[in-house]
Every structure is written in structure tokens, then in C-alpha cells.
Symmetry: C2
Subunit: 219 residues, 2 copies
Amino acid sequence: MHSFTEENYLKAIYKLTEQVGSEVSTNAIAEKMSTKAASVTDMLKKLSDKKLINYQKYQGVTLTSKGEKVALSVIRKHRLWEMFLLEKLDFKWDEVHDVAEQLEHINSDKLIEQIDKFLNYPKFDPHGDPIPDANGKIQAQKSKSIAHYIKNDVLVMTGVVDHTTAFLQYLDKTGIALGDEIKIKEVVFFDRSLQITINKKTTVFISNDVAKNILAIKK
Amino acid sequence: MHSFTEENYLKAIYKLTEQVGSEVSTNAIAEKMSTKAASVTDMLKKLSDKKLINYQKYQGVTLTSKGEKVALSVIRKHRLWEMFLLEKLDFKWDEVHDVAEQLEHINSDKLIEQIDKFLNYPKFDPHGDPIPDANGKIQAQKSKSIAHYIKNDVLVMTGVVDHTTAFLQYLDKTGIALGDEIKIKEVVFFDRSLQITINKKTTVFISNDVAKNILAIKK
DNA sequence: AAATAAATTTAGGCTAGTCTAAAAATAATT
DNA sequence: AATTATTTTTAGACTAGCCTAAATTTATTT
């Protein structure tokens, strides 16, 4: 297997690649990993020897498909553990990250598949980020705030941007929950507030400020 | 915090101390840790510098109260995770150990307290071994097989020795489960079979062979 | 009590991952 | 195009944990 450190480098490279869309620089990795460029270079050589990254001196790096598979597996575990901590163990939003950073390196296929089952196979974590499946396949579309969608779009609520209890309570009261179907009935021109239908039943109005904090994907 | 390796050494020393009842030898630790005596000596120096063990060259080691606290915390986590895997994630007996060995090193007070709560604060793991509480306090008595007890003893069922599905199914059918009150009504002299009352309700007969595989403590 | 055997420690070396300081390569500026 | 600035890599060193081989201490026999 791969060491914790190797896994963390691969995850960092994956996420940086997502952001920049091309080769990732040594300095960018160093910053993300809170380490020094020289240390990164050492690790890049090792990962390259193991065929986990494509690396040529001074040219930046990309993941090989083998490396990407490892990264996606770590991300899958991270997101499922976050879900588990939040939903089953009453963790608060600001408490989950550090623990999930540790749990994501636990090596046991059975463990993570059972956690997945226990959570009833969620497709998105509550940040709206997609959870890769056991084969590393990832839902093509990423969640966007519902402020980005247009009239008549039919969506699935996948997460929130603002995780304060105040906001979560507002959602609760309004009757919007993870997994709900949301249809955009109307976009009010002058303030971009929305009229939406939840699960084909109730119809509510929400401000643009609220809309910006609700994540969804097209159904 | 302490490294995984340090935690594993402390746990090994704790368990060996339980077995031998006095100072633990370098060789015994080496064998338990599947490593070489020279490596153990190195680690003993480090643990001694950190005041986690009492160590004098050639004289064997004992844990300091600080070291014992760490060991008990690791054991607590190990036993709670085993419980969790077995009860909540449908793991089999032979599957839990390796994963619990990893999970026992996850560092988060909140995590382990929530797991404890989620399991409804078990006092014994299903081996019948006591689970230390959050302060490292451990139930004084260890579980013994009910074959050790005598007429009129009132017990709490804490675990099993034989974890085969065949035996577990037998217990299930007979109506004996973890946490049940078991009263020894009669010990048959010639074959040491038992008549027991479960939860003050049903009374059943079990052979000595079965009794030897059921763990309990005095109520 | 001396000699031998067993256990333990020291000495020196290895790998993974990190660091600082200096050298080399690439990018930006004049 | 030449110079300067930035980025990246190399060189050499450090710690944690591990190893083998040799030295030392303790235990056991004779």
C-alpha cells in the first residue's frame, strides 16, 4: 500500500489539477502541503518512480490513471467519513475535517463499503461535492448553487455553502432537505429571488442570498 | 501526541505486564511487536525519556501512570471500534482485528466518545474484556467463563470465547445475549452441566462445554 | 567460583520524509 | 538579447524506526 504521506500528496495534486486544469507546479503543492519545495521535489521523484504521476523536471506534474485512482479512493473515503461523522455521530461542521483527514487513510475495503451502505450510498457530500464510487467513477457534474440555474430546471439538492446552524435551521423550517427535488418555477428579474417547488409539493420563495447557499445538480 | 509506534509499544507493554505481573523483558516485547531486541532497546530509551515507562538497563520495564493512561486509551479505542464493526457494520469476528488495529490510533476525543454513545456505553467487548472508561478506569473484575461460577451466583453475560457462527446461532436460539442477567440455579455434579435462569424469566440447561464458552462477571 | 549460555545493549548503517542553503533552469523585464 | 527575478532542483544533514553484528551484562551450569 501507499503511505499516508504519499496519499496526501496524490490528493493534493488531484485537487490542484481540478483548480488549475493543467500541470501542477512544485510550489503550489508545497503550499497546499504546508511543506518546502525541496521536500516536494523529493516526493515527486518517488511518486514518479512508482508511476503514480507524470513528472519531468521543471515541467510540473499530472496524475497517471493509477495515481488518480488512489487520489479518488482517498477522496471517497474522506467524504464518506465526513458524512458519517455529521449524520451518525452528531459532529458539527467545524469538527469533521481534522478527523476525516485521519480516517481517510484507514485501509479496509470492507470498512468503507459498509460505511457507504450504512449511509445509504450517498452521491454527494454535504458540501455538494460528489462522492466517487468504489471504482473511482465520479458523477460528471459538480453541484452549483441554485442561483446559477434558470426557470424550469429540475434539480436535486446536494448540499449547502453556509453551514451555520442558523442557516441549516432556516432550511429545515422552509422544508428543504438533502436529496429533495427542487424545480425552479420563476426567477424574479429585479432581485433574482426564486420561486421553487420542493418535491413537486410545496412551493416557496427564497431570496438570492439564500439561493447562493443551496447546492444542487440537474436531475 | 504520540506516534502510532509509540502507542503500539505501550499497548504491548501493558498487555505483557498483565500476563507476567511484573517487569516486562526486552525480548518479550520484541516478540510481541514482531521486531528485534535492538529496536526495542532504542524505543525503550525514547519512552523512558518521555516518562512513559520506568526503565533501567537490563532490568525490564513497567509503565508509569502516564504511560498506562496512554495504553488504556488505545485499548479503549480498540475495543470500542471492534464493537462498532461487529454490531453496526456487520463485520465477522475474523475481520475486525486488523481494522481495529488501525482505528485505535485515530486521535479525536469527540470521535471515540460519540462511538461509545452510539454503542450505548458498553462495559465489555464481546471477548468479555472490559472496556476502560474515558478516564482510563477499568472494571476491576475480568470476565470468566460461567463454568467457573457456583450455585446462586448472579451474573451479567459479557462475551464469548468461541466466535463461530454455529455457536453464536446456538446462543441466539437458546435466548442468551450480551448483557443478559444469568443466574446459576444448579450445577450438576457428575458432568458439570448447568441449569441457568436468563433475565429472571426462562430457565435452560447448558452443557459444561457450552458454559466454558460463555463469559460473564458477577453482578 | 569459573565458565558457558542467554539476554540485552551499543555501534554503525539503512529508508522515509523533512529541512536549509546553494546551484541550476525557466520566466520576466529591460 | 541580456540581465534580473522566480521557480525548481541538488547537496548535505536531521529524526524516527528499523536492521545486523559485536560487545556487554546477567543468569545458569559445572
